[in-house]
């Protein structure tokens, strides 16, 4: 069900909406960080965080509070040898994802306040916000917010008068999508090439600089002050999927072939149909939908003709049994249940008449460029996926080569250090399976690149 809210976006578009004055006027201005540091214990903060049912907003959907609880109980103050760190993932770069940027640009103080609360909850004194280098405005706004907060005494040696030092720093990336993978990000912060690490050890045990670290997505952290301000349970209950542990409100992005692409804040649980028609004004040229990419290019495409198969009354998807997947509320577990992933909650809409083979080639070019090269199946596999996709588009591929694409993709799955491999193979396999006739048409010479279109109307 579509429920518009504005807990995170109230200051969007307002003059100086990103400044401390607007944050104090419209969004509670650090009252929660103050309350947390001056009245709560670390355990109480983690309990509250768990009750908010904030599922990680970066794509994997892991419950934030549970992640916080993985951090060792002992801290340097309590005699442990190693400091703890908070790393905030703002390396937004998954194709189709454009939400975190709006928070940094329009509501950076929510990010900083979230960092203070999270640091306290996980026993850390330093937070690094990892922002991709290209986002210069985002970095400037965050730096500005940090400066304002420091001047007010919300950051530094004794925030809100409490003997609990907190510092927040912005760390700039340098143009590598893979650094959005959490262990790659840790290497990048340490000044190394952004190559993912083997897990275990997990970051909660050995993260940044070998110390216990929590890595959270930027939107996850920015939601914390709202959740704490409202009361965690109340926050969670805003969601249509509160009953399955997917709570609160979040940002939804809609892009691609829609009339009004945008980022909006909604209670968790709208459907694809609501996003496309009620939020984004429908499909360009009033065309039908060929498919959607649910939440970033690594999530398998869904077609409107697909229906939910959940005859078991115990299944959380049972209420939608037999209905179109486009009428299922978007949540971490509901999307997993229909065979895709919620991902980053930014939907790319592709209209009928668009060439799925060209879409595949375009995406494979992205993955080929961004594979870090550490694992052979991913490095070579992504190159093969691109080469064969190009051959198909050029009309030079055989049926055998088309079938071979499945083998290449399957050869990547499960054989790499990080999830980039799956992120490449899963969307490739979904496009191949769901658009087999289109691929075959190329191979059999019934379709050529000259017929292929990606846009609904020519660019002008």
């Amino acid at each position: 069900m579509l429920k518009r809210t504005n807990y995170l976006t109230r200051t969007y578009g307002k003059p100086e909406g990103w400044g401390l004055a607007a944050y104090e006027r419209d969004l509670g201005g650090y009252a929660q960080a103050r309350r947390v540091l001056t009245t709560l214990t670390r355990e109480q903060v983690v309990d509250e965080a768990k009750k908010a049912n904030i599922r990680g907003r970066g794509g994997a959907g892991f419950p934030m509070g549970v992640k916080w609880s993985f951090m060792p109980k002992a801290t340097p103050a309590a005699g442990a040898a190693k400091p703890h760190y908070l790393v905030v993932n703002a390396d937004e770069g998954e194709p189709g994802t454009h939400k975190d940027r709006t928070l940094m640009e329009e509501n950076p103080h929510a990010c900083v306040e979230g960092c203070i609360i999270a640091c306290y909850g996980i026993g850390a004194h330093v937070a690094y916000i990892y922002v991709r280098d290209e986002l210069h405005l985002s970095k400037a706004r965050l730096e500005g917010a940090i400066k304002e907060a420091r001047a007010k005494g919300y950051l530094g040696k004794t925030p809100f008068g409490k003997e609990y030092p907190v510092e927040v720093h912005v760390h700039s990336g340098a143009g590598a999508y893979i650094c959005g993978e959490e262990t790659s990000m840790l290497n990048s912060i340490e000044g190394r090439r952004g190559e993912p690490r083997m897990k275990p050890p997990f970051p909660a045990n050995a993260g940044a600089f070998g110390c216990p670290t929590t890595v959270n997505n930027l939107e996850t952290i920015a939601a914390v002050p709202t959740a704490f301000g409202m009361g965690a349970e109340e926050f969670s209950k805003l969601s249509a999927l509160h009953h399955i542990g997917d709570g609160g409100v979040r940002l939804y992005g809609i892009n691609g072939h829609v009339k009004k692409p945008c980022v909006v804040e909604l209670a968790v649980g709208p459907t694809f149909n609501e996003l496309i028609h009620d939020v984004a004004g429908g499909v360009l040229g009033d065309k039908g939908v060929l498919c959607v990419i649910p939440g970033g290019s690594s999530t398998p495409v869904m077609r409107p003709s697909e229906t939910v198969q959940a005859s078991d009354p115990k299944s959380p998807l049972h209420p939608w049994h037999g209905k179109s997947v486009f009428d299922v509320p978007l949540g971490v577990d509901t999307m997993r249940g229909v065979g895709t992933m919620l991902g980053t909650c930014c939907v790319t809409v592709i209209a009928e008449g668009t060439d799925p083979v060209w879409c595949m080639q375009n995406l494979m070019q992205f993955y080929r460029h961004e594979s870090c090269g550490q694992c052979t199946p991913c490095r070579e596999g992504s190159a093969w996926l691109l080469r064969v996709s190009e051959k198909i588009l050029d009309g030079n591929a055989s049926l055998q080569e088309l079938d071979g694409l499945h083998d290449i993709a399957n050869g990547i799955m499960g054989n790499t250090i990080c999830a980039f491999g799956e992120g490449t193979a899963m969307p490739a396999l979904a496009i191949l399976q769901k658009f087999r006739p289109e691929f075959e048409a190329y191979v059999r010479g019934r379709r050529s690149r000259a017929d292929a279109r990606l846009t609904v109307e020519p660019w002008s």
């Binding site: 400091p83 937004e92 770069g93 998954e94 194709p95 189709g96 994802t97 454009h98 975190d100 940027r101 991709r132 280098d133 290209e134 986002l135 210069h136 405005l137 510092e167 720093h169 760390h171 700039s172 990336g173 340098a174 143009g175 590598a176 999508y177 990048s188 912060i189 340490e190 000044g191 190394r192 090439r193 952004g194 190559e195 600089f209 992005g253 809609i254 892009n255 691609g256 072939h257 692409p261 945008c262 980022v263 990419i293 290019s297 930014c346 790319t348 592709i350 879409c359 375009n362 995406l363 070019q365 992205f366 460029h369 961004e370 870090c372 990606l454 846009t455 020519p458 660019w459 002008s460």
Partner: protein, 159 residues
């Protein structure tokens, strides 16, 4: 000539070093400072970073070659990056690229003869809701139209 940072950037480096528990962690920020100064990261700059941070030149070179945004060779005065990834491509990115190439008389990856503009394609720049888009130096230009691109490029060629 050995590389040295300007006094202002040297001050920024000192601030940066205080933020991390190791010197190596300043590798990316320091490389950004070097590139800001020269437009690219020269071999001399690599040596400089290695010495300042007590790491090997091989480590620094490894970092420079890993990340897309470090230029290993001199580039034009202005950097134009056109996003080519799917959400932008669905809104006309390939046409934007063609238009830029024709307008500037170069292919992506090249620099104009007067050294003013380097044109490149970029992978997703997190601007999918305002596609098509391009980044010019530090600035994003979104919801691009043909007229808008012409204006932007004309300004770069004059400046």
């Amino acid at each position: 000539m050995p590389f040295a940072l300007s006094p202002e950037r040297e001050r920024k480096l000192q601030e940066t070093l205080e933020r991390y528990p190791t010197k190596m962690a300043a590798t990316l920020p320091l490389l950004h400072l070097c590139q800001e100064q020269d437009g690219y990261v020269s071999e001399d700059a690599v040596e400089f970073v290695a010495k300042r941070l007590d790491v090997s030149p091989a480590h620094v070179k490894g970092v420079v070659t890993f990340y897309t945004l470090y230029n290993q060779h001199p580039v034009g005065k202005h950097q134009v990056w056109v996003c080519r990834t799917l959400p932008c491509a669905l809104r006309g990115a390939y046409e934007v690229i063609d238009h830029c190439e024709r307008r500037l008389g170069i292919k992506c990856g090249e620099t104009t003869a007067d050294g003013k503009v380097t044109l490149r394609t970029a992978e997703c720049l997190a601007s999918c809701g305002t596609a098509p888009m391009m980044q010019v130096d530090r600035e994003y230009h979104e919801n691009l139209t043909r007229d808008r691109v012409d204006q932007i490029l004309a300004r770069l060629q004059e400046g």
